[in-house]
């Protein structure tokens, strides 16, 4: 049996949570937030869909397998460490583009630490969802078992 109100609510909340997670990710450098918190928030968005609707729906929304997301996140994190090496600095040295202004966001600083944080964000989402999906599978097999 499905909870109609919950499903409707999660449909609204899902994009809102994702946007929020991105904002938290972006602003992490100056204000509380960052890749880890952002990743957890984003993961809760998918879990909300998974609980209210179905895990299959959540998986479909994610589009990519959580394991691959984790791997991709690690790759992104490694890549963020490379630009510094081009000018002879050690691995993972922060590199920044010149700041510029954008509407809404104000003055924007883009640099490799942000890229690194995106990697963390992806790994955290991957971790939480990979664990959730496998545990959910366990729970559902059990239920079938009981029937």
């Amino acid at each position: 049996m499905k909870y109609f109100i919950l499903i409707q609510a999660s449909r609204l909340l899902f994009p809102a949570l994702l946007v929020l997670s991105l904002i938290v990710l972006y602003r992490g450098h100056n204000l509380p937030g960052g890749g880890f918190i952002g990743g957890l928030l984003a993961a809760t968005a998918f879990i909300l869909v998974g609980l209210s609707d179905s895990m299959e729906r959540a998986k479909a929304l994610l589009r990519i397998e959580p394991v691959k997301l984790m791997a991709l996140g690690l790759v992104v994190a490694i890549i963020s460490g490379l630009p510094g090496m081009l000018r002879g600095a050690p691995f993972m040295t922060g590199e920044w583009l010149p700041g510029f202004s954008l509407p809404l966001l104000g003055k924007v600083h883009l640099g490799t630490p942000l890229v690194f944080d995106v990697g963390v964000y992806m790994v955290v989402i991957g971790f939480v969802l990979h664990t959730t999906f496998s545990l959910a599978q366990l729970a559902y097999t059990q239920t079938e078992d009981d029937e």
Partner: protein, 779 residues
């Protein structure tokens, strides 16, 4: 030309790498090409003989962990030149021989890869000047020889014996490394050349005894001295070319080489001299005794190798001028004749299908060249003039007659040893070729081995004869520089001409006795064979190998027992042991840092926080005593959210948010598994609950004490202040926590996300097992 040192290593390594490809296209014939590498290295070394003979040494050095006092430094002096020539010269013939012996073997390419890698490691070992580098090569020889001995890996016996060799030599190497580090501590150098100049310093140090024992632990295991001798005959499980190489010029000589290498700095004390002389003698006697009863030609040779290692160690222990000369000459002679004999035995095995010397007879007409090589080698081994072996034996007796008092025992040991060794030499190298042929008893119809399999033996055997007749070149450029390097003195001219040795004196008389006795042993060989099985079975339970097996079984028993006890497969027990360990170590740490010595500043806690903490404590009690999972989960949630509030209250919003999110996710994940958990009441009994309560209380109390003490310590704020100050100007971020995570300590964070990823894979794997079980149950 110091670059030839690295060049020689490079050539052999390259040959090792291309061997599999080459074999794929050329088969066994690839051996002829591959042998060019060691021969090229041999020529390079030979070209340096003049320089080294003139008293110079070549040094090649590159920085390698220089902060730790080590470097990749190679040094060619008299001793290393001698060893390098043996390793490459004999190595080349072994490669050719292996091409014939293992012709058509499906894994021939892999075999050459192992063999040449071993050769490179051995060469590196003898060339190393830095002892840490030497250790690295030493271990490489252990590993590569493991692969070689266990090459017939589909046989269980073969794997077991290879593992035995690896374990015995590997454990010895650990001791040796400890000894090396002590040497480094005492002398402040890891360079052999420098260490050998600081013998007095070493011997005066209180660590000297420990150093000698540890270093000898490595040398004795590698060179198979009593009581570590048993792995050597067992290592015959490898293909014959391997035995021929490992047991003539290389692997087992590494231990001898190490003792000789460190002789200038470590010798001179009674400890060093008597340990070497006594263990060497025991090894020789035991090897000769066991050798008498062997029927397998390869085993006979293995035991004579063991005997020779005993002789060499004993001579090093005696340490006189003659003894060292004898040792070097004996070492060269042995390398030549032993490689030959192993290869000849391999050829016989290859052509007749057996190595049982009780069956082999009269092969000389069918295998004339092998017979000639085997005969020459056996005569050199017997120590008959004019072979090189004779010079070695004469020198041993010359060194022996100079001893006095109780030390004359060593002369007697040498006499008995040489005598039996001659008997065994004839048994393995001459016996199979003479007598009445009985080819019907053999598994295969014998004929002469192919060119690849007799060229090496005949060349090596003939060189044993030639350098016996005209020893001048060898003594001048190989023996004298090596003796000088071992003694740590200047190079002196040696006169080892045959006609100078053949004088009517005591040593010559002893030689005569040896020859007569050796023939006697040879002629009576059948008597020993008759009782062979009975004797060997009777003494086996008291031997070192039985001891090894007991230790091996004991280790496995212990390992299983402690695994059963510590790793029960129940999460409950794992947590218990983890907390127990933490409590013990933390308690110890707190105790050694002044115990319960702290002050509490009550004024710094306000009412709101006190209320919060009281709520959390009540929740904790409920969590522990709750009867259903939902109660426990809610209570734990209260504790978790309380922690988040504390974080927020004291100004750590990042932590607070993270904590909140984690709490939420924990509840969700827990809901998935709660159905599968057993009812709370049935998990543990009364005793376990009390035990766990005590443990938990102790852990909580310790953590509290730890925190209170930590607050009392005046931390240096420099680091955190500096990070905070640098955050915006250096990293363009105002959130210091985040800046530290993604910029200042990004590498740490990267490590953490890797751990997270691995943990996710682990969880998924565990769960998948559960799902499978569930499905299996439902089917």
């Amino acid at each position: 030309m110091p670059t030839i040192l690295i060049l020689s290593l490079a050539v052999i390594s390259i040959a090792a790498c291309i061997a599999p490809t080459l074999v794929r296209y050329l088969g066994g014939r690839a051996a002829w090409l591959l042998a060019l590498a060691p021969f090229a290295a041999f020529v390079m070394f030979l070209a340096q003989a003049g320089t080294i003979g003139g008293g110079e040494a070549l040094v090649y050095q590159v920085d390698w962990f220089s902060a730790l006092g080590t470097s990749f430094s190679l040094r060619l002096d008299g001793l290393s030149l001698l060893m390098a020539l043996l390793v490459t010269g004999i190595g080349g013939f072994i490669v050719i021989y292996a091409g014939g012996y293992m012709h058509g073997h499906p894994q021939l390419g892999r075999f050459f890869l192992y063999l040449l890698s071993f050769m490179g490691s051995m060469l590196g070992l003898v060339l190393s000047d830095n002892i840490i580098l030497l250790f690295v090569f030493w271990e490489l020889t252990s590993i590569t020889s493991y692969l070689l001995i266990g090459f017939n890996c589909e046989e269980k016996e073969s794997r077991w014996k290879a593992l035995q060799a690896l374990l015995v030599t590997g454990l010895g190497a650990m001791a040796m490394l400890a000894g090396f580090i002590l040497i480094g501590m005492v002398t402040g150098s890891y360079s052999l050349a420098e260490i050998n100049g600081m013998g007095d310093l070493l011997q005066a140090s209180p660590w000297y005894t420990a150093i000698v024992i540890l270093v000898l632990g490595g040398a004795f295991t590698k060179s198979a001295q009593v009581p570590f001798h048993f792995w050597l005959p067992n290592a015959m499980a490898g293909p014959t070319p391997v035995s021929a190489y490992l047991h003539s010029a290389t692997m087992v000589k590494a231990g001898i080489f190490l003792m000789a290498r460190l002789n200038p700095s470590l010798s001179g004390s009674g400890l060093w001299e008597y340990t070497l002389a006594i263990f060497g003698s025991l090894t020789l006697l035991l090897a000769m005794f066991l050798g008498l009863f062997q029927k397998d030609a390869k085993s006979i040779l293995a035991y004579t190798t063991l005997g020779v290692l005993g002789v060499l160690t004993m001579l090093l222990g005696i340490g006189s001028e003659y003894a060292i000369k004898a040792m070097v000459v004996f070492l060269i002679g042995h390398a030549l004749y032993k490689a030959t004999l192993f290869m000849v035995v391999g050829s016989i095995d290859h052509e007749t299908g057996t190595r049982d010397v009780t069956l082999l007879r009269g092969l000389r007409k069918l295998m004339p060249i092998s017979a000639l090589a085997g005969g020459l080698a056996a005569l050199s081994m017997s120590g008959l003039p004019p072979f090189f072996g004779f010079i070695g034996k004469e020198l041993i007796y010359k060194a022996g007659v100079k001893l006095s008092g109780l030390e004359l025992v060593f002369l007697a040991v040498a006499l008995v040893g040489n005598l039996v060794m001659m008997g065994l030499a004839l048994k393995a190298g001459v016996g199979p070729f003479f007598g009445k042929a009985n080819h019907d008893a053999l598994p295969k119809k014998p004929h002469e081995a192919p060119l690849a399999m007799w060229i090496g033996p005949i060349v090596l055997a003939v060189s044993g004869l030639v350098i016996g007749i005209v020893p001048f070149w060898v003594t001048e450029f190989m023996v004298s520089p090596a003796v000088a390097a071992i003694k740590g003195t200047q190079i002196q001219h040696l006169d080892l001409a045959l006609w100078n040795l053949v004088k009517p004196n005591l040593p010559l008389l002893l030689s005569g006795v040896t020859v007569l006795g050796g023939f006697f042993v040879f002629l009576n060989r059948a008597r020993f064979w008759a009782v062979s099985d009975r004797v060997l079975t009777a003494i086996r339970p008291y031997g070192a190998e039985a001891m090894y097996e007991r230790i091996f079984a004991g280790t496995i028993w212990f390992s299983k027992a402690q695994t059963r006890w510590l790793q029960t497969g129940r999460l409950h027990d794992y947590v218990f042991f983890i907390i127990l360990t933490t409590v013990l170590f933390l308690g110890w740490a707190i105790f050694s840092f002044g115990g319960l010595n702290f002050t509490i500043d009550w004024g710094s806690y306000d009412l709101l926080m006190v209320c919060l903490v009281v709520i959390m404590m009540i929740a904790a009690v409920i969590a522990v005593s709750g009867r259903s999972y939902i109660t426990v989960l809610v209570a734990l949630g209260v504790v978790g959210f309380g922690v988040a509030l504390i974080f927020a209250y004291y100004g750590a919003p990042d932590l607070a948010i993270t904590q909140l999110l984690v709490e939420m996710l924990t509840v969700v994940l827990f809901m998935f598994v709660v159905m599968r958990l057993p009812p709370l009441k049935t998990i543990s009994g009364r005793f376990t609950r009390i035990r766990d309560a005590i443990m938990a209380t102790a852990f909580g109390a310790l953590m509290t004490v730890l925190l209170l003490k930590a607050v009392n310590i005046q931390f240096d704020h420099k680091i955190s202040d500096k990070l905070a100050a640098m955050s915006y100007p250096e990293a363009k971020g105002k959130n210091v926590v985040n800046v530290i995570l993604v910029d200042f300590r990004a590498l740490d964070t990267f490590g953490e996300i890797v751990v997270i990823a691995v943990a996710a894979l682990g969880i998924a794997a565990l769960v998948a097992t559960g799902v499978k079980k569930g499905k299996a149950k439902s089917e």
